[in-house]
Symmetry: C2
Subunit: 393 residues, 2 copies
Amino acid sequence: MSTAVSAERLRQQLDRISAELHGSVLPFWLEHSPDREFGGYFNNLDRDGKVWDTRKHVWLQARQVWMMAALYNATKEERYLEAATGGAEFLRRHALEPGNRAYFCLTREGEPVSMQRKIFSECFYVMAMAEYARATGSAEIRAEARDVFGSVLRFKDDPSLVGRTVFEGAAKESSLAVPMILLNLVDVLHDSGEKTHANVERWCVETIAMHAGADPRFVLEHVAPNGSPMDTPEGRLVNPGHAIEAGWFLMDYAHRTGDAKLERLGVDIVDRSFDFGWDEEFDGLFYFLDREGYSPSQLEWNMKLWWPHCEAMIGFLMAYRATGSERHFDRFVQVADYCFENFADPEHGEWFGYLDRYGTATHRFKGGPYKGCFHVPRALWRCETLLREALGA
Amino acid sequence: MSTAVSAERLRQQLDRISAELHGSVLPFWLEHSPDREFGGYFNNLDRDGKVWDTRKHVWLQARQVWMMAALYNATKEERYLEAATGGAEFLRRHALEPGNRAYFCLTREGEPVSMQRKIFSECFYVMAMAEYARATGSAEIRAEARDVFGSVLRFKDDPSLVGRTVFEGAAKESSLAVPMILLNLVDVLHDSGEKTHANVERWCVETIAMHAGADPRFVLEHVAPNGSPMDTPEGRLVNPGHAIEAGWFLMDYAHRTGDAKLERLGVDIVDRSFDFGWDEEFDGLFYFLDREGYSPSQLEWNMKLWWPHCEAMIGFLMAYRATGSERHFDRFVQVADYCFENFADPEHGEWFGYLDRYGTATHRFKGGPYKGCFHVPRALWRCETLLREALGA
């Protein structure tokens, strides 16, 4: 397919992606994040890697375990396995309470600090352990991942299990986040050798397609259970980066299962979400938009966050893989240029996470409660792989 | 005291404050917010007053009842009593569940949508009913306010009563928000004729003083239970607008009780919080700061919100009342100028709520889940009263 773009252009992009991943991003985390005394990672790191908060956020601990294990599985370099082990053992000791609820935040030593009324800590725990089990070959850890995944499926269907009361005035709605993260888990579990869950896969794919089917101009974050748009602020909400991520999860899954029609839906989701979400005036992807043009109530709606741009880099290279169209490659370059100009930090490594609408960094830290060793290395690593494949290397 | 400022300057400020309150702000809410079908108020209003979400947020419903009842108590104008009644009866029917937990959000019709694991909905309910009882003379409603206040005091001491688990790794800390809001409630209850709660008052005053005592350069939002500063992101957090509000609550209370030393502490809190929180480069008060200069993890830390500026207007006029110093009056004018230039909306009335660091409005709505008929009218009304008193009128 990928013939429209010259090998020289592909090579140029591959070179800067690889240099950034191996020369700036991974060294930052490998040097500054491991806690060699208590295990786990310091995930709250200032611009230069200094720890500004010793607490450990489970989302990020787990995602870093996944990232390190995935790099080990791809390269067999021992240093990645070692880094994965430090985090995995810390999480296995401290992250779960009986019944498989996972904490949101732990102290440096591993004592629980807080728990959300959501299922995402548990999801990232599964993602970590499935990939780590593949790295170690441990049947015990694979069984743990499968067990927690079973709990996640129960939690998803009964919010009271995560402590949430559903009051009678609350709108019944479908949220894009849930099928999206579950489809990603299905993929990680599949790679680790677990039998795929056909009914779960089908539900994820159909639910994402339902969100995309409500309006051809964008993907809605929340729709009614029957898929129709809702005229509430949640119903009008568009999160372009999130939709783009869902788009590449779909393409990834469709590519693996050989479903060309589903892959095209993934391409379309990425295209329309980018068209709707890109700020024509100051560049970059908006964080949130209201489909009718009202002001989203989120105070940060017009900020430019690192992760939607990471997702868009992967999204457009996967779209290029699917279509071979230079337009998709050009968009990848457009997003990558924005990232290298605005998020990258050649002085200290890794990327800044938060810019104002105009592209000025508002926060100097590289790691915080919601930003860790995940989106940037995942995007660079997936892009490196896709570019190598496109080059036939 | 107030002799340093010319009557002409005082009169100038009084004129623009009164014109804004009676010509722009109150008409906006009186025209657009009452829900004449189901009671209560539409608190989610677009720039021009159009309803963009019909749900009703209890914080704002209750604060608007307080505001309308307070205006009635000050003026005896029937339209304010009528507006207060529409909200008060809606809240009495729908806001509480047995045991006096108050919902956070209701549907237009009054069905519960959500509940926070915090005590603020209950606090604002007490504030509303105490002031409304004073307006109507209803002993029944006054008893309700007293009863819910009793529940608030119990909730404050036992987080499990509001559904919060305190995990063993969570830092034990004192939060400025709690003594602050309770001191405000004590004041409202006092005005409505309730006996003051001497031990509660003492605890509020001493706790605020403890937060102010940790460092002479600012007021910390969270300190250790013994008052010492904590080296965590929460322990380093400064919220200048919040501290300024605490400062004028103290001055208000001290003025009423004739405690000159406490009034001076209030003046000092306002002064130092303004000095630390004012953005010398682009003007306006930052929303959050880290006392050591780290980036606060809140994405909106550098935005300029309407309410800290509202509190600062009241704070500096109360400081002027206490000191008679032209410097305090000048600061009042500085903040008011910023507000009239950046937040006011001569076209449609009321104020915008959210600006980016540079002073550009980021959100066009006048009412949202956390902004309603409260901070702007309260500030203008208190300032109008203080300016009239200063003029001896």
